[in-house]
């Protein structure tokens, strides 16, 4: 019962807010309370490998093949926790008393709900459905509360994501239909077994893998389907960017891991070189573009999109180590991106700008904020001790045997990312105080009330960085099964 509870609680909160309860408090409590069923479910997973809710899957074709089955195993465990945590932090750092407060928090809750549902769904129909639930709230969040070219960004983001979703949908439909009629199912456990017993033909696998790659890839902002991401994140209000970059984007990677890899292993291998090319593009092209950003949010957007390349490297490594690294990096990236956008949000809320040249000297004015800025930057550039490094190392080791060249590129990406981040930190933190920073009313983070979301994310980064076992440990059997032909 704890699985549906995790979906019901945010929904209840949405209802309560709509009925007039205090938005921030309600949303925050709901997302905190939601961790309780999360804990219970995790306990179940750790004891028995996986837990389920809903009707048992029936392989035979029924009236409508989709079944509302929720499930959690070692792989979804970390994703679910990532979602829970980032939701709490995002809502915690969201501004109470913003215009149209009600709608704001409802939208945030809905994004979290969509992500949770997607990660908990065992059935591909609901898996897809839940992801889309988050689409419209994102549109509204960017459109109503965003900055800069918010209208353009909202449209671009939405249409892009929708397009990606549709291609993805094609892939899923194709996957379903290319199975023999008696064995069709949308349950990925059943699907996995079916495909393992009688693999799809190479041609089919190739097409499906390509469709899934493009579909999921768009959601993940794989080059050249990335261009919604930087601008979208730059324009989004901070909590929305935190949730989207931190959590929702992981849906695509999770899907690739869950669906594309096990269902179309040969096709995936066959298009591996294309993926390699694209991920190199992610790292080099977006990394270089990130160097040139003048706006901190844009920089974070590019850098966030850039790191996806490294995760993809883990995905095509074909080793458990690489996959585990990808998973760890997903978590790490989720946390660090969330932290980064949170810090950016705090900065621009205080100073009214996120142009790096207008900031400067922040470290003197707001040392706490600077500290978290440093944590985010360091995590993003893969500093040991923080989660991203653990993921990157595992990916490098896992992928080295198969793709040494790409590992080299990814390692250079670490350098690029360091260049970008260090420049940003230098511009924002060092030097004499700029007018925006020294202006009246610019203050450091105030007490525990403003600090805790950032601190929580930082601690999580540290925890995963030092004990990556918490992420890859439960997932290890699942990953091994994914790779067993």
């Amino acid at each position: 019962m704890c699985l549906p509870a995790m979906l019901v609680i945010p929904l209840l909160a949405v209802g309560l807010i709509a009925l007039g309860s205090r938005p921030k408090v309600t949303a925050l409590w709901a997302s905190v309370v939601n961790c309780i069923p999360g804990c219970l479910a995790s306990g179940g997973v750790l004891r028995s490998g996986e837990i389920l809710f809903g009707p048992e899957p029936i392989p035979a074709r029924e009236v409508f093949p989709a079944k509302f089955i929720l499930g959690m195993d070692g792989l979804s465990l970390s994703m679910v926790w990532l979602t829970l945590l980032v939701t709490v932090a995002a809502i915690g750092s969201a501004q109470a008393g913003i215009k149209r407060e009600k709608e704001y928090f409802i939208c945030l809750l809905l994004i979290g709900l969509g992500a949770l549902g997607a990660f908990l769904s065992v059935d591909l129909f609901y898996f897809f459905t839940f992801h889309e639930v988050a689409l419209v709230p994102t549109f509204l969040l960017v459109g109503i509360w965003g900055q800069g070219d918010r209208a353009g960004a909202a449209w671009r983001m939405t249409v892009y994501l929708m397009l990606g979703s549709m291609v993805l949908l094609m892939g899923l439909i194709g996957l379903y239909l290319s199975l023999p009629e008696t064995a069709r199912s949308l349950d990925w456990r059943v699907l996995g077994e079916t495909v393992r017993a009688n693999p799809l033909s190479p041609g089919t696998q190739r097409i499906l893998a390509a469709l899934l790659l493009i579909g999921f890839g768009t959601l993940v902002s794989l080059v050249p389907f990335h261009s919604w991401a930087p601008g979208g994140y730059a324009s989004a209000p901070a909590p929305a960017a935190m949730l989207h970059a931190g959590v929702l984007k992981k849906f695509g990677l999770y899907g690739l891991m869950r669906v594309a890899l096990p269902m179309t292993p040969d096709g995936w291998k066959e298009i591996g070189w294309i993926v390699g090319l694209l991920l190199a593009g992610n790292i080099l092209y977006l990394g270089l573009a990130a160097l040139q950003q003048r706006d901190f949010r844009w920089l974070l957007g590019f850098s966030s999109a850039m790191h996806m390349g490294t995760v993809f490297l883990g995905l095509i490594s074909g080793t458990v180590l690489g996959l585990a690294g990808a998973l760890t990096l997903m978590v790490g990236h989720g946390l660090s991106a969330a932290l980064g956008f949170a810090v950016a949000g705090e900065i621009s809320r205080r100073t009214g700008t996120s142009w790096m040249q207008d900031l400067g000297g922040l470290a003197q004015r707001a040392p706490k904020l600077w500290f978290y800025l440093m944590v985010a930057a360091m995590a993003s550039m893969g500093l040991p001790g923080l989660a991203n490094f653990a993921g990157e190392i595992m990916i490098f080791f896992g992928a080295w045997a198969a793709h040494p060249g790409l590992v080299g590129i990814a390692a250079w990406g670490v350098v690029l990312s360091a260049v970008a981040m260090l420049r940003a930190v230098r511009a924002i933190a060092f030097g004499a105080m700029s007018p925006a920073v020294s202006a009246e009313g610019v203050a450091d983070l105030q007490g525990i009330r403003e600090t805790w979301p950032l601190a929580a994310l930082s601690l999580a980064l540290l925890l995963v960085g030092i004990v990556p076992l918490v992420v890859y440990g439960p997932a290890q059997p699942v990953l091994e099964r994914l790779l067993t032909p």
Partner: protein
């Protein structure tokens, strides 16, 4: 005996009764005509849902059939009737208030025609039923005769309708000349085993043009935007939902399960339907994007939806037919509330321009929420009911291997998002409208819209009910089955 209480007869009697009441009854009763009309419509709807009531008088059975499809769709039209009558009670006739009784009674007759139409098994019956609908609609469209737009819409509908009637009758004539019969099952039998008969093909082409008019399929669509825009909004609803659905069911009966539904005819009709479908989807979607009048926008959006359904039909087979059935119900559930909302909006503002939506999301959160959900459902976004049906269309296209159509459908499904997000954007992003009306929406709208929105969500989340409906509508297909064997 109870067979004589079939909806068609009840509808006619109700219509006549209403007119009599309106003409003859004392003033106190006349004031209650709207309520009476609504009750009558609801009563008939309830009656039709009663399991025993859907058989036809036995003497009708040479022209009409009482099968699953008819059983599923008579309630559909009655549902529309309830909504249309409901809207008609709220529509402002201005100088023509004196004839509101007629305005309320007239929709009963075309509804009877539609009920006949869906159970027709003979082209002659189709013709008569269709004309009953058409002629009533000419009148209803032009009913608001103090409004030039209404009259213009009426005359346009009349000219185009007359043209399409000419084609339909010509087709029937050629059918007689070529095959000697117009009954669907006999037509199937005469074609079975023989090669394609040019006369029959030609007749089919002409009939297709006639039906295409009803469906507003490109290139027979041109009347739709103008007429939708000009008609009184309840009539727009009737045209957009009921009349269009009837056309599609006819298309389905003729090309999907009867008359020309043989496999051997597929090579002739499938390409045509697919081509029409592609053209319809594309034009409907693209032309809807720049619209500023809501009813006109809905017209194009309706064209696009018809295109999706035609595409599904073009894939042939039961899958396509079932998809159309489910799609129509989904379309009904999404578009009727939208029209209801628009009707109220028009009542407050006197026009249906999109600008009246500006900022309405804040002023009227409840109805706006339902409205948003319905619009998103039309956009085909999960978890709303529009999604599974669009999914079914795409799945059918994939299964049939219709790649170009699939690609177009996918692109247009994405582009279509723009159509529906535009009003949503206006509701939530934009500033308040310049002229805020003194009055607010009536309370009933809140409940109707919220319930409709939730219904859309629920069915989108659990589409099994729709699928059952589709299966039920296809349950007895005796003739086709016999011929196939």
């Amino acid at each position: 005996m109870s067979a004589w209480f079939c909806p068609e007869i009840l509808l006619t009697l109700a219509g006549v009764g209403l007119i009599l009441v309106d003409t003859l009854a004392p003033e106190q009763v006349r004031r209650r005509t709207p309520l009476l009309a609504l009750l009558a419509a609801m009563g008939i709807l309830g009656w039709s849902l009663w399991p025993e009531s859907r058989t036809l008088p036995t003497s009708w059975l040479s022209l009409f059939i009482s099968d699953g499809l008819a059983a599923v769709f008579k309630p559909f039209f009655l549902f529309c009737l309830v909504a249309v009558v409901g809207m008609a009670t709220r529509y402002r006739l201005e100088a023509d208030e004196a004839v509101r009784g007629e305005f309320l009674a007239l929709p009963f007759f075309p509804t009877a025609g539609l009920c006949l139409l869906v159970s027709a098994r003979d082209f002659l019956a189709v013709f008569v039923a269709l004309e009953l609908v058409s002629i009533s609609l000419y009148l209803l469209t032009a009913f608001h005769r103090t409004k030039p737009a209404s009259l213009e819409a009426g005359i346009k509908l009349l000219v185009m309708g007359g043209l399409s009637t000419g084609f339909l009758v010509m087709g029937i004539a050629w059918l007689y000349a070529g095959a000697g019969t117009t009954e669907f099952s006999k037509l199937l039998l005469t074609q079975a085993g023989t090669g394609a008969n040019p006369a029959v093909l030609m007749a089919a082409g002409l009939i297709l043009a006639g039906i295409g008019f009803k469906v507003a399929a490109v290139p027979f669509h041109a009347w739709a935007p103008d007429v939708y825009e000009g008609s009184p909004t309840p009539v727009t609803a009737f045209l957009a939902v009921a009349s269009k659905a009837a056309g599609l069911i006819l298309l389905l009966r003729v090309f999907g399960i009867g008359a020309f539904a043989l496999e051997s005819m597929g090579e002739f009709f499938r390409p045509i339907l697919l081509t029409l479908g592609i053209a319809t989807v594309t034009l409907g979607t693209l032309a809807a994007l720049p619209q500023r009048d809501f009813k006109r926008l809905l017209a194009y959006s309706g064209i696009a939806h018809a295109g999706f359904m035609i595409l599904a039909l073009g894939t042939g087979g039961e899958g396509g037919v079932g998809t159309v059935v489910a799609y129509l119900w989904a379309y009904l559930l999404a578009s009727l509330p939208v029209l209801l909302f628009v009707n109220e909006m028009e009542r407050l503002h006197g026009s249906t321009d999109l600008r009246h939506l500006d900022g309405i999301g804040r002023r009227e959160p409840g109805p706006s929420l339902g409205f948003t959900l319905c619009l998103l459902s039309m956009a085909g976004l999960p978890p709303l009911v529009g999604f599974p049906v669009k999914l079914a269309v795409l799945a059918n296209l994939w299964n049939a291997g219709e790649r170009p159509a699939l690609v177009v459908a996918v692109i247009m499904a994405v582009a279509g998002l723009g159509i529906y997000l535009t009003p949503i954007r206006a509701m939530y992003w934009e500033r308040e409208a310049d002229a805020i009306p003194a009055r607010r929406f009536p309370p009933f709208l809140f409940w109707v819209m919220v319930m409709a929105g939730l219904l859309n969500v629920w069915l989108g989340f659990q589409p099994q009910e729709l699928v059952r409906l589709a299966e039920k509508s296809l349950s007895p297909l005796p003739v086709l089955e016999a011929i196939r064997e």
